[in-house]
């Protein structure tokens, strides 16, 4: 995989254009279907203006998940319904990236509207896992993680609603962060479940991930949920965990966990113990209700958030004119994929008169309990450690036809989104050549401690130095 330092070095030795052209060549000759749109022209244009730029990411190519609005570059959410939609404005994170000198090389593949755990629900075909092309890269930010794993770009952005950054980071052996809710502005992120999702940075190592996080985090007046976090997260890049207490929640090592995953994560905890941290088991009693609550809330919000896609103003159009009623139904019938329709229907049902109390309001109560679980567990611990995913990457087609099994895979990632706390996933082992992800969770706004823990782990292990063999 490529690091930011290596890329800067390459730019110094040749030029921004050369490095960018190599990057685009790798993407275009790649076999993993990591991108929906490659923005070659605008990227080269941006590269031409990079002379003398002093931003922290000057000349660094970056891939953007296709649900983050980019002015002038098609943004589809991997859906047919948004085919051809070119946003007239940049998301807040894109403005920040451009100011820092990063170059948007294109829009990464994903599950349609970020609904999925495998990137198989993309209208533009599935992304393949660079470690094994017969396997999924995880989802929904599969393209963003796979492009980094495949050494196509050093950095990418994903979004994480119930694990959508951490799951593919785990399956692709890269580092991905779901920040505290509100730390990164969602302005320009096309909503799936707005009370849960955050944009998250992805990189090949903790340092690069932090560098990228530093650029995009911060208050934005256009997002009412936006808050100011730390000023400089790179200060947390400290190789030292002495005195830290790690909590290990037994509920995260439950049914269906792969023994290799369990062993790798425990090895990780013990490695940190050797480095001076202590650990203890913690109880998180409501974890078993998290999945159900998560899907009720996410689908309810999705049913409302996706109402605006009606073919009236942008995206898919019909050949023939109808009255608006028919036009809406036809466009939505043709434009949305199966998983999206399933979630819209379930969400509509859950919010309907008579069912609201039974499902949605109950889910909100569970959400409060989950949040309290985290507060309790993190009272006398500094971070929590658990597997990101219960298994390594599964095979393409293996679970997509059985949505419930697929939803079960999110069991360890969704509680974090319900609680709004930060969590990072980083490689901690391999099983049959497939990467395993370790999840470090922390208190609200305490990204610094999880970054420090992850960085120390990484500095004292070599999992992050391995790359898949890519043709």
């Amino acid at each position: 995989m490529i690091t930011v330092a290596q890329t800067l070095e390459a730019i110094r030795n040749s030029s921004v254009e050369d490095v960018l052209n190599q990057c685009i060549d790798r993407i275009e000759s790649g076999t993993f279907n990591t991108f929906i749109t490659v923005a070659k022209e605008s990227a080269l244009e941006a590269a031409g203006k990079m002379e003398g730029h002093t931003g922290p990411l000057a000349g660094i190519p970056i891939a953007i998940k296709d649900n983050i609005s980019t002015r002038g570059i098609q943004t589809t959410c991997a859906s047919k319904i948004l085919g051809g939609y070119v946003p007239p404005y940049d998301a807040h994170v894109i403005e920040r990236l451009k100011a820092a000198g990063a170059i948007i090389v294109g829009k990464a593949n994903m599950d349609e509207f970020a609904m999925g755990t495998s990137t198989e629900s993309s209208h533009y075909g599935p992304t393949l896992n660079p470690w094994d092309p017969e396997r999924v890269p995880g989802g929904s930010s599969g393209g963003s993680a796979a492009t980094v794993a495949a050494s196509e770009v050093p950095l990418s952005l994903g979004s994480d609603t119930g694990g959508s950054v951490r799951c593919p980071a785990s399956f692709c052996g890269v580092v991905g962060l779901k920040p505290t809710y509100g730390v990164i502005s969602r302005y320009g992120l096309i909503s799936y479940a707005n009370s849960l999702e955050q944009i998250g940075p992805i990189a090949s190592n903790v340092e690069d991930m932090t560098l990228l996080f530093n650029v995009i985090a911060g208050h934005d007046a256009r997002d009412s949920t936006s808050v100011a976090g730390e000023k400089d997260y790179t200060k947390a890049l400290v190789d030292d965990v002495k005195g830290l207490t790690i909590g290990v929640p037994e509920e995260y090592f439950g049914e269906g966990i792969d023994p290799a995953v369990e062993k790798s994560v425990w090895d990780g905890v013990h490695r940190l113990e050797e480095l001076g941290a202590s650990w203890k088991e913690v109880k998180m009693a409501h974890t078993k209700y998290a999945l159900a609550a998560y899907y009720v809330i996410a689908m309810s919000e999705a049913s409302s958030n996706l109402a605006r896609f009606d073919g009236m103003r942008y995206g898919l159009r019909l050949e023939k004119d109808h009255d608006w009623h028919t036009t809406y139904s036809e466009i939505r019938a043709q434009g949305f994929g199966e998983e999206v329709k399933r979630r819209i229907l379930l969400g509509t049902y859950a919010l309907s008169a008579g069912y609201m109390d039974k499902y949605y309001l109950k889910a909100l109560k569970v959400r409060t309990l989950i949040r309290q679980d985290f507060e309790q567990a993190l009272k006398d611990t500094d971070v929590l450690i658990a597997p990101t995913m219960p298994t390594p990457a599964f095979k393409l087609g293996e679970k997509i036809s059985d949505p419930l099994t697929l939803y079960m895979a999110d069991v360890n990632t969704v509680p974090i989104n319900l609680a709004g706390v930060p969590s990072v996933s980083l490689p901690c082992g391999f099983s049959n050549g497939l990467p395993i992800g370790l999840q470090v969770m922390g208190r609200h706004f305490d990204e610094a401690t999880i970054i420090r823990t992850a960085y120390t782990f990484e500095q004292n292990t070599d999992f992050h130095t391995r790359s898949p063999e890519v043709a």
């Binding site: 983050i68 609005s69 943004t75 959410c77 948004l82 939609y85 946003p87 007239p88 404005y89 998301a91 969602r186 302005y187 320009g188 992120l189 096309i190 909503s191 707005n194 009370s195 007046a221 256009r222 997002d223 009412s224 949920t225 309810s300 919000e301 049913s303 409302s304 996706l306 109402a307 605006r308 896609f309 009606d310 009236m312 103003r313 942008y314 608006w324 809406y328 509509t348 919010l351 309907s352 008169a353 609201m356 949605y360």
Partner: protein, 480 residues
């Protein structure tokens, strides 16, 4: 209930009319829309020129509350005697319509900005209290423009999103109104209060839109949507009462339905019945979150101006004028201010008569506002009349002339020669008229008292209105 509050409506008449209103008020004196920075002053501009990703509902855009709109809403709530709760919260109301770009409207549901208030109005038998259930904030959708004028006739429809995202305050009454006339009085009173608060320019098209719920004893209620004027509301309700009455009399049933008021024909027509009612799937808008407003209200309460009712009572006691005059003078803030300026300089009772009875009538007739006449002119005019320099009739003529042709009172009086004629001229005229009209004199003497009216008219004509008609009459009677 609050101490000293009026009794709730004690009666239902034979027909049992119950009317409740929902009034959508555009907070159009704000500079920007409710959730974005787009300017509000779009009325003379091209369609879709005052838009941005937020008010167009583009994917990825997020709402940010205009804090001033919250302030204005609290202001209205307090003026309507409402309670402002600890916090307020926005919800999404989900439905599909082409003028609604997000597929949902951001509005309020469980925690409206204001609730449980009232307005007192002149009822059929004295002052009555009309309860306000709630006032909640929401965004205006866009506007559909049907090519060809109406939905039925148009081949296609344009959508103008300039209005999309304008702040609305929806004021909902309890069904306390008993007649179309009361409904109109309520609306007028509400408009007056909003005018005092300076939060709405009610002269702009669409600034106050009314939905009316109406039922008769023994029937279901119907809802008449989107009435754009107060007069329209009165007419629509009148039509509905007659329609429902006839229906019930013929043994029919009033079904719960939504109706549209056809302003041109003065009738209401059915839009949809209850079976098609929406399930709006209200749920909290997580992009905004709750707003704590408890701390805002006391500060805003302090900035509230004296409102029409309080001012009316002060006028009666301070200026010794009748309640009717005070009511007329305080209905609009500008008129009340005008009156106070004039009353400070001249006799307050006389000023009330001249402003409430004369000037307001002339203004209404011309459909213009009080700013068309200066308070200094009114002071000058009242002084001329009070000092017996011109007749009352001339006073009226001065006002009319100034409104129609301009000029100030002194100029008009001079140009038209309206200064009251001195005694000699009047006496001469009386003598002349008696000499010139022996037949009328004879008629009077033989028992036809109305003949004196003719003679008085002749004297007035001779003196070109500068004499006092009452005095002239006395003089004639004395002489014949």
């Amino acid at each position: 209930m609050r101490e000293g509050s009026l009794k709730l409506r004690p009666y239902l008449d034979d027909v049992g009319v119950m009317i409740g209103l929902e009034i959508h008020v555009q907070l159009n004196k704000l500079n920007t829309k409710i959730f974005c920075g787009c300017p509000l002053d779009y009325h003379d501009d091209e369609p879709n020129t005052h838009t941005c990703p937020v008010c167009l509902g583009l994917p990825g855009s997020l709402p940010v509350i205009n804090r001033k709109s919250v302030e204005y809403s609290i202001k209205v709530g307090l003026a309507l005697n409402c309670t402002i709760e600890e916090h307020t919260q926005f919800y999404r109301k989900n439905y599909y319509y082409p003028d609604l770009p997000k597929g949902f409207q951001i509005t309020q549901y469980d925690y409206p900005i204001a609730s449980n208030g009232y307005i007192n109005i002149e009822g059929e038998d004295g002052e009555v209290r009309i309860r306000i259930n709630r006032a909640h904030m929401e965004e205006d959708p866009g506007r559909l423009v049907h090519e060809g004028g109406s939905i039925e006739r148009s081949k296609y429809t344009f959508i103008d999103y300039n209005r999309s995202g304008v702040a609305l305050l929806e004021i909902v009454t309890e069904p306390d109104l008993r007649s179309p006339k009361e409904a109109r009085r309520f609306l007028d009173k509400l408009r007056n209060i909003l005018g005092y608060l300076d939060v709405v320019d009610t002269t702009l098209e669409g600034s106050m839109r009314v939905d009316a719920n109406i039922s008769l004893a023994g029937g279901s209620r119907s809802e008449v949507k989107n009435i754009s004027s107060h007069k329209g509301a009165e007419r629509a309700l009148l039509f509905e009462i007659i329609r429902q009455k006839n229906l019930l009399r013929r043994g029919g049933k009033v079904v719960q339905e939504t109706r549209h008021f056809d302003e041109a024909r003065g009738v209401t027509v059915s839009l949809r019945t209850k079976e098609e009612a929406h399930d709006y799937r209200y749920f909290p808008e997580a992009d905004l979150g709750p707003i704590r407003v408890a701390d805002w209200a006391p500060g805003i309460q302090e900035t509230l101006p004296e409102l029409p009712d309080a001012r009316r009572m002060r006028f009666v006691s301070n200026y010794s004028i009748t309640d009717d005059h005070a009511r007329s003078l305080t209905s609009e803030k500008q008129v009340a201010d005008f009156y106070e300026q004039v009353a400070a300089e001249v006799d307050s009772k006389l000023a009330a008569v001249w402003i409430a009875d004369v000037l307001k009538g002339e203004l209404n007739y011309r459909d213009i506002g009080i700013d068309a006449f200066s308070s200094e002119y009114m002071v000058a005019l009242v002084k001329l009349v009070a000092g017996d320099k011109i007749s009352e009739q001339s006073g009226v003529e001065v006002i009319r002339t100034i409104l129609d042709e301009g000029g100030n009172p002194d100029e008009v009086v001079a140009a038209k020669g309206l200064l009251k004629a001195g005694g000699d001229i009047v006496t001469t005229a009386v003598v002349e008229v008696i000499e010139e009209n022996p037949q009328a004199v004879e008629d009077y003497r033989s028992g036809k008292p109305e003949a004196v009216n003719f003679l008085t008219g002749q004297v007035m004509k001779k003196t070109r209105g500068r004499a006092d008609a009452k005095e002239v009459r006395e003089m004639i009677i004395q002489r014949i």
